[in-house]
């Protein structure tokens, strides 16, 4: 029987949302292809429990590579394991999350080795007569396209938040099959020799979890300007994000970059300040429930993409806004 295989990683304490999303994508694709099983390959250290969780979240079968050395995963080790398992199991499709490890490294190299057609950063697919067409934004999200991948196996990476994780169903049954392989046999040629933590301990919620995000762009003008956004975030209990120029200028850490090549976020409220609304930025912010734009230029593209707009210089609206929110808070 043919299958769709989802590449997943997890830690002893948690399964990343991206793994559940890619399993949901595999389940949906397997259903649409008909008579195809949804498998997962799970890599990690002490993650057997997580393998069962993947079954509850939609996998029919999980290949488990559980090894202490996988507590921190080198790209080439993940690649070696993925290649080994894919060659053994010969799935019809291999799905990866489009993250740094898989989208940036493992999926392209695996596809090359298998001579597999590959489509990266997909947001969906359409199946007709067992043929898959992969849906994906192109030109920074200004256009959409359907791609076809040819080859003995197809590989795709899926964009974060394009698929909703399936709720856990404790009644689902499936096999967890340990794979007989020692990941230490894959000796990476490129390896991390030093890890440096520079991020300050953050106050407030993380970008991924925050219900409200305050995000600033080039229009903030300086790092000092950005401080005002932190003040605004503080009264709202919000996380702070930024556009690419803001990140390149060092006003906000790169890990807080919102957009196609940064974080894809989906808060209840996204307040974009001094951001023009480039499609590459909106690719990361566009799933927010309500987008508020504050920009001095009434013709800024963001006023065609936001739900609520304020035409003003931020210097004139943000300080009173902070004051008003403070008053609202104290009045309860």
């Amino acid at each position: 029987m043919t299958s769709v295989l989802a590449f997943c990683t997890a830690t002893v304490t948690s399964i990343p949302r991206s793994a559940l999303e890619v399993v949901a994508a595999a389940r949906s694709l397997a259903q649409q292809l008909g008579g195809v099983s949804a498998q997962a390959l799970l890599l990690g250290a002490r993650v057997e429990q997580q393998a069962y969780a993947l079954i509850q979240h939609g996998a029919d079968e999980v290949f488990l590579v559980d090894h202490p050395s996988l507590a921190s995963l080198e790209d080439e080790v993940a690649l070696g394991v993925a290649e080994y398992v894919v060659r053994q199991m010969t799935p019809q499709v291999v799905l990866f999350p489009h993250d740094d490890l898989a989208g940036g490294h493992v999926a392209p190299r695996l596809a090359y080795r298998l001579k597999a057609g590959i489509v990266t950063d997909c947001t969906g697919f359409a199946v007709q007569d067992h043929e898959i067409r992969w849906l994906r934004p192109v030109y920074g999200g200004k256009a959409m396209a359907y791609f076809r991948a040819q080859g003995p196996i197809q590989v795709a990476t899926v964009r974060s938040r394009a698929f909703e994780p399936l709720p856990a169903d404790p009644s689902r049954r499936g096999e967890v099959r340990p794979v007989d392989i020692n990941p230490e046999t894959f000796l990476p040629t490129v390896r991390a020799v030093e890890r440096v933590e520079t991020a300050e301990v953050e106050e407030g919620p993380s970008l991924d979890r925050a219900e409200i995000i305050v995000s600033g762009g080039r229009g903030m003008g300086s790092a000092e300007g950005f401080q005002v956004l932190h003040d605004l975030a503080r009264v709202l209990g919000a996380a702070v994000g930024g556009s690419r120029p803001a990140a390149d200028m060092g006003w906000v850490p790169h890990s807080h970059l919102v957009g196609q090549t940064g974080k894809i976020v989906a808060p209840k409220l996204y307040i974009a300040v001094g951001i023009s609304g480039a499609t590459q930025h909106m690719a990361g912010a566009g799933s927010s429930k309500t987008i508020v734009a504050i920009n001095k230029d009434p013709d800024a593209p963001i006023f065609k993409l936001a739900h609520i707009g304020v035409v003003s210089e931020w210097e004139k609206v943000i300080p009173p806004l902070i004051q008003i929110f403070r008053e609202m808070r104290s009045q309860g």
Partner: protein
């Protein structure tokens, strides 16, 4: 250290949405009167290469697969500080997929002969597949470091900085190797100086064809594994509710009230 940077020339990706057009038959963007630029991560890669040259010595060569117009992109990279450039151009190169592009670039690197480090952008700024870099490393059979932002040391083995969620890590790789480049605050591309621009114009830029590279691309054309089937521009306009108010303070107040009314704060 000899660093070779693979750059792609693209239509300016900052073209606003309302001026963006595609040709649904060729399934590509229509050029119109938009400027051509070096794809943004490739420009960053040129900056990384030049910084490495400044720190550790050596030279930088830039190569591109493109039409005659792509010479412009090579000139810009030379003006930024690259030392040599090669244009890879042949009608047979048009329409090859990422597998084909990796074959062409690999053939060019073999013709160049000696190189220590190959840099590619993490993804091109138009169709953004992010495949050619890792494919090229595989094609050349050399180690591949992905999503790095700078070269931190270059003696014998190379050390590369890779941004992470909470800081960065330092990767060590043997040479020759390939790295795909992402941006951070240390590699914002420099502007070319007037002197650099003048000097760049005097650098001869050879053009290599498929025959020069000893490449038969008939197979690559037949065996295309990645194809665009259909392309369209989605409609996405939202009716934006503009907050009214005479003064900025009044607009701030009205915004706060509206957000409270919507239960968002």
């Amino acid at each position: 250290m000899h660093i070779v940077v693979c750059i792609k020339q693209i239509i300016d990706p900052e073209v606003p949405f309302h001026l963006f057009r595609i040709d649904p038959v060729t399934k590509t963007q229509i050029r119109g009167s938009h400027p051509l630029v070096i794809s943004l991560y490739d420009e960053v890669a040129v900056e990384v290469a030049i910084q490495a040259k400044e720190k550790f010595g050596g030279r930088v060569t830039v190569i591109t697969i493109g039409t005659k117009e792509a010479v412009q992109a090579l000139h810009q990279a030379l003006a930024m500080g690259a030392d040599a450039a090669v244009l890879l151009s042949d009608p047979a190169f048009e329409g090859v997929d990422s597998f084909g592009k990796a074959r062409i670039l690999a053939a060019a690197l073999r013709k160049i002969g000696s190189f220590d480090l190959v840099l590619c952008g993490r993804q091109a700024g138009d169709v953004e597949m992010g495949l050619v870099g890792p494919f090229l490393a595989e094609e050349l059979g050399i180690p591949c470091a992905t999503l790095v932002s700078n070269v931190v040391s270059g003696n014998g083995k190379i050390r590369l900085k890779r941004p992470t969620e909470t800081g960065y890590e330092v990767l060590e790789a043997p040479l020759p190797c390939l790295a795909t480049i992402t941006n951070d605050e240390t590699n914002v591309p420099r502007y070319a100086s007037v002197k650099g621009i003048r000097a760049a114009m005097r650098v001869p830029i050879p053009t290599w064809s498929a025959a020069d590279l000893g490449l038969d691309l008939a197979r690559s054309q037949e065996e295309r594994r990645i194809e665009i089937d259909e392309m369209w521009i989605p409609q996405r306009e939202i009716r934006c509710e503009l907050i009214s108010g005479e003064s900025a303070e009044e607009r701030a107040r009205n915004l706060a009230l509206r957000l409270r009314e919507l239960g968002l704060i």
